[in-house]
């Protein structure tokens, strides 16, 4: 499955970067959402993808599966998802604020306004 995910991740990265390069500031937000998802998937998929073996140890002391999914990248991605949301909300509000003050949504014009 991993090679397919590699291609999917490449596609998400490409779309994210394309959106981030646009001049319209609203598109930047979409780009941010895409790129954080791409990064999360990358970490998750690179560690190897295992089916039907969540990193839980049976409560009743029963035997564990031979191979279980790697818990560490899961822990990393879990916080990354939440942090990405925090950063996104910050960015979105920042952009909204910038738009209100400057009154343009073109990144190129924003450069020249020293307000």
């Amino acid at each position: 499955m991993e090679p397919i995910m590699a291609v999917v991740i490449g596609v998400i990265y490409a779309t994210a970067i394309y959106m981030m390069l646009r001049r319209s500031i609203v598109k930047l937000v979409i780009g941010l959402i895409l790129i954080s998802n791409a990064a999360n998937l990358l970490i998750f998929a690179t560690a190897g993808m295992t089916r039907d073996a969540p990193p839980l140890i049976p409560m009743n002391g029963g035997p564990m599966a031979e191979v279980i999914a790697d818990p560490l990248p899961q822990a990393l991605v879990l916080t990354a998802i939440v942090i990405a949301f925090g950063v996104l909300s910050f960015a979105v509000v920042l952009i909204r604020r910038a738009y209100q003050i400057v009154g343009v949504d073109d990144m190129d014009q924003m450069k020249d306004t020293d307000t």
Binding site: L56, G86, V93
Partner: protein
């Protein structure tokens, strides 16, 4: 400001308390099964966000009683505070400490306190953003 439709507001009345309960359940079982501070915090934040869409930000603030900002601060305090007992024991910073509550068979631990801290921070952060945004929105219109 009542913005919700009838269906939404009726649904919210039942859903919000359920979600809050569910989040506590997720929080407490998180150490052994899927769940934990992050997830539980998001669930409860979702609950209050729903409540806010139905009843408006003032009502949500009333329901919460505390400012979500204070939740952030208190959560961070718990997070940092849970790191200190280990120090007291002469172990490295943040080493987990476990205590049995006699009679109940309940385990109290610094990781649990830490997780509650995470829960409060997530709850506080999300709600701060959502409620403030709604309030500012309302001011503008």
């Amino acid at each position: 400001m009542k913005t919700g439709t009838l269906i939404l507001s009726v649904a919210a009345q039942t859903l919000v308390p359920l979600q809050v309960l569910f989040s506590l359940f997720l929080l407490l079982r998180g150490h052994d099964e899927p769940g934990g501070g992050f997830i539980a915090g998001l669930v409860v934040a979702g609950a209050f966000a729903l409540h806010q869409f139905v009843n408006g930000p003032e009502a949500t603030r009333r329901l919460l009683r505390v400012d979500p900002r204070d939740c952030i601060g208190f959560g961070l305090l718990l997070g940092v505070g849970s790191a200190l007992p280990a120090w007291w024991q002469g172990e490295a910073f943040l080493t987990a400490q476990w205590w049995e509550v006699p009679g109940l068979g309940l385990k109290l631990s610094t990781p649990l306190i830490f997780d509650i801290g995470v829960y409060l921070v997530v709850l506080g952060s999300v709600l701060t953003a959502v409620i403030t945004l709604t309030e500012v929105d309302k001011d503008e219109t």
